[in-house]
């Protein structure tokens, strides 16, 4: 499957989903005015994604608006569906050690999702 890469914008994260390179990352800040529109191609890409083996998705965000929180939850829900007996998906939710806000968002996702979500303080 082709790589998906979206360069970082003023209010949008750098996104790279690269199956061949086994690299899956959402990094930076996310507060686009229309989060639904921004994350649409990412969700569409995930609809076609059929991995096997162990996959780690790394989220390294330092600001997330409320509408982006919902969009990222949509990503996590898609990953929930992809996770199966052939595939083990792990999410690494990274945050700065003193950033309680981002940590709490990760904790919220842990409550909602069945995936293994690691909270990693940098």
């Amino acid at each position: 499957m082709d790589k998906l890469e979206i360069k970082e914008g003023k209010n949008t994260p750098h996104i790279i989903f690269d199956p061949a390179g086994n690299r899956f990352s959402v990094a930076g800040k996310s507060f686009p005015e229309n989060a639904k529109k921004f994350y649409e191609p990412i969700l569409s890409w995930l609809d076609q994604f059929s991995p096997s083996g162990n996959i780690e998705f790394n989220f390294v965000l330092y600001y997330i608006s409320s509408s982006s929180i919902i969009s990222i939850l949509e990503i996590i829900r898609k990953l929930d569906k992809i996770n199966s007996s052939n595939t083990s998906i792990t999410i690494n939710w990274c945050f700065e050690e003193d950033d309680d806000d981002i940590k709490k968002i990760g904790e919220d996702y842990q409550r909602i999702s069945k995936l293994n979500i690691n909270l990693i303080a940098n």
């Binding site: 209010n11 608006s65 950033d99």
Partner: protein
């Protein structure tokens, strides 16, 4: 309609001046999404320059983004198609006060008021539960919002939301919202 917003903006400016409260940032009139980016990055710089704790600065950043994007998403327009609105961020000895105003349709006032009243009645745990229920439900409106705006403002402010609806005409009112973020205490 512009006059209503201009007069109120001037009145608030005078009020802050007479109380010797510093206006950190204020803007009157419609703003673009590029303006929102510019405002919040400028705000972040100013707060850090003033030595405001990183946690407080981050909460202010979050709150203002939510407030300004909400107004862009939901604020109605005047008779000339302009999205009349304003906001203030004022620094008082122990807190920031954020005030925003936009045009609202009279027929949605009850819904907005009910939502804010519900949020104001909740304690910290209750607010978190309401936030989680809304997040998990995740239903987006036709405008792309999902009901987290006011909840997020209240969670970031860690205080009640004060509000006022002032009639403009038979269809529309001015909706003004205010909240405080304490400089001390739990971050």
């Amino acid at each position: 309609m512009k006059e209503i917003f201009d007069n109120r903006f001037s009145a608030l400016e005078a009020c802050f001046a007479s109380d010797k409260h510093e206006i950190i940032q204020a803007h009157k009139g419609e703003w673009t999404h590029e303006d929102v980016e510019s405002f919040v990055f400028d705000l972040e710089s100013k707060l850090l320059e003033k030595g405001i704790k990183k946690g407080i600065a981050k909460r202010m950043f979050s709150l203002i983004i939510e407030a300004l994007q909400n107004i862009r998403l939901h604020g109605e327009r005047d008779e000339n198609g302009v999205q009349q609105s304003f906001y203030f961020i004022a620094l008082k000895p122990d807190r920031f006060t954020v005030i925003t105003a936009n045009v609202i349709l009279n027929r949605v006032i009850e819904k907005v008021q009910t939502r804010i009243e519900k949020i104001n009645e909740l304690d910290k745990a209750g607010l978190k539960e309401y936030y989680m229920d809304t997040l998990t439900d995740g239903q987006r409106s036709s405008k792309g919002g999902a009901g987290l705006g006011f909840i997020t403002v209240a969670m970031k402010a860690k205080n009640k939301i004060d509000y006022d609806f002032s009639p403009i005409d038979g269809n529309k009112s001015k909706f003004e919202m205010s909240c405080d973020i304490l400089l001390t205490g739990e971050e």
